[in-house]
């Protein structure tokens, strides 16, 4: 099997619009969560959300290119521009190589709602405009990025609920390991508009700690009361090792393994066995000693049962080893389809800058989180290998292990 390395990263999130900004936010423990009054006017149970700025691409992309892009495709475009730049890839390279594209995305509600509203009001489908169809498809991110950057390798959207981004990277790594692709642009994107999470709010999954938005997302804390929705996009350029060496690429890390599993049980309530299996598979496939793992980026979203069962799964696998476990969702909220990719970027930024971001708002442990080493203050330490979990509705699980280079 061929080795898979990361040669570039890019990010557009509530913690910043570049790697540098996001690194600083992680370092200082800044929360990206706000209260959105528009959601309250719309009848939301919780108006909490991450605040993510929609990029202005007028003057950057043509009018027709922009017409087909919903907000998450714009986030993904910006993250990908940054990642390609950092990987030393220009348009000439993309035009002369078969570069793939695999991105996690599992909804695109806003354009679909607008199109349906138009059809209902006007009783005329033409008036939806030309962009509606391309914005409304789940594959909108990969169809947009593929045409903008002229990518001619695999072009595929991965929809695996809140593990979409992690599955996209993991599946991309498999294609490179087996020699089918030399380079793939991978990532995850998540829309942030209210329509996209209205029905999610409706099942009482969100925190209602509206008087303290920055304290609302509190993974593993005893007093957590639900997740806070977030979004944006994150891109990693993954590449076959020899290929990267040959072109003199900045090799920054190696993807050691991808573990996966499904719970096969309840549609929303996670269990312990499924995640444990994904963790064990990743560790086994990585071919490393478990003690080499210096940091665990948990999926933990700040829901009661989710965090509890992940804590049990991590304890099942790691036992009493004192490895720092944190959830960056304490700062970002739950970035859902994007999370599996963004949390690789967040963890990479920590690994490259010798710190572990605080699991902010972790004030009191519960019975299960007490068994883990969860720092609520930043830890300044060097580590060379991390594990990142991503789990999703329907019981889909993904685990990635990445090593520093």
């Amino acid at each position: 099997m061929k080795r898979v390395v990361i040669t570039g990263m890019g990010i557009w999130s509530c913690l910043g619009k570049s790697l540098d900004e996001v690194r600083d936010s992680l370092y200082t423990g800044r929360s990206g969560i706000v209260l959105d009054p528009v959601r309250k006017e719309m009848g939301f149970r919780s108006g909490l959300t991450a605040r993510v700025e929609i990029p202005e691409l007028k003057g950057v992309l043509s009018r027709s290119q922009r017409a087909y892009m919903p907000e998450q495709a714009k986030y993904a475009y910006c993250a990908t521009v940054e990642a390609l730049h950092n990987a030393g890839i220009d348009q000439e390279y993309l035009d002369s190589h078969d570069v793939g594209l695999m991105y996690g995305n599992d909804s695109t509600v806003d354009p679909a709602v607008r199109a349906v509203d138009t059809i209902r009001a006007k009783k005329d489908t033409t008036l939806c405009g030309s962009g509606a169809i391309f914005q409304s498809m789940n594959s909108t991110v990969t169809m947009n990025l593929g045409t903008i950057f002229h990518l001619r390798g695999i072009n595929l959207t991965v929809s695996g609920a809140c593990a979409s981004g992690a599955h996209a990277i993991g599946l991309g790594a498999l294609l490179i390991q087996t020699g089918l692709q030399d380079m793939i642009v991978c990532g995850g994107a998540q829309e942030v508009n209210p329509f996209s999470v209205g029905s999610f709010d409706g099942i009482s999954a969100f925190s209602t700690r509206e008087d303290e938005p920055e304290k609302a997302s509190r993974p593993f804390d005893r007093d957590r009361d639900g997740l806070v929705p977030g979004g944006g996009a994150a891109t990693v350029i993954i590449e076959e090792y020899e290929h990267a060496v040959k072109r003199g690429a900045p090799i920054i890390a190696e993807i050691l393994s991808y573990g996966f599993s499904a719970n096969g049980e309840h549609i929303s309530t996670p269990n312990v066995d499924g995640p444990s299996k994904s963790l064990r598979m990743a560790i086994e496939r990585a071919g490393i000693n478990i003690d080499e793992i210096g940091y665990i980026n948990a999926h933990a979203t700040s829901t009661h049962v989710g965090d509890t069962n992940e804590a049990k799964a991590i304890y099942n696998v790691f036992g009493d080893r004192r490895i720092e476990v944190t959830s960056t969702k304490s700062q970002t909220g739950h970035e859902m389809w994007m999370a599996g990719a963004s949390e690789i970027v967040y963890s990479m930024l920590m690994m490259k800058n010798d710190f572990i971001a605080a699991n902010i708002n972790f004030e009191n442990p519960d019975e299960d989180s007490a068994k883990l080493l969860i720092p609520n203050k930043r830890v300044d330490k060097h580590f060379d290998t991390f594990l990142s979990n991503s789990f999703g509705f329907g019981g889909t699980n993904a685990t990635l292990i990445v090593r520093n280079i």
């Binding site: 007028k58 043509s62 009018r63 027709s64 017409a67 006007k122 005329d124 033409t126 008036l127 939806c128 405009g129 030309s130 962009g131």
Partner: protein, 79 residues
């Protein structure tokens, strides 16, 4: 709406939406060429005109509305 006002508004909204200089919009110029419309962005022009003027250019009429002059006349008869 006076025809001159209508022409001014048509030119303004089309130039803004399709990101061209308003000065290149002349009565006898071809709409598709001037605004660089393909089959998809032509749909956007129809939607934009409907939204701004409340007039839907019927698909069967599109072939007749080739120039800006033809568009002004089409709208003037219906606004």
């Amino acid at each position: 709406m006076e025809k001159n006002d209508l022409i001014a508004k048509v030119n303004s909204v089309l130039a803004e939406e399709f990101e061209v200089e308003e000065s290149i919009i002349t009565p006898d110029a071809n709409i598709k060429k001037t605004l660089e419309l393909d089959s998809l962005s032509l749909v956007d022009m129809v939607a934009l005109i409907e939204n701004e003027f409340g007039v839907k250019i019927q698909t069967a009429d599109l072939a007749k509305v080739q120039t800006f002059e033809a568009l002004y006349d089409y709208l003037a008869e219906r606004v």
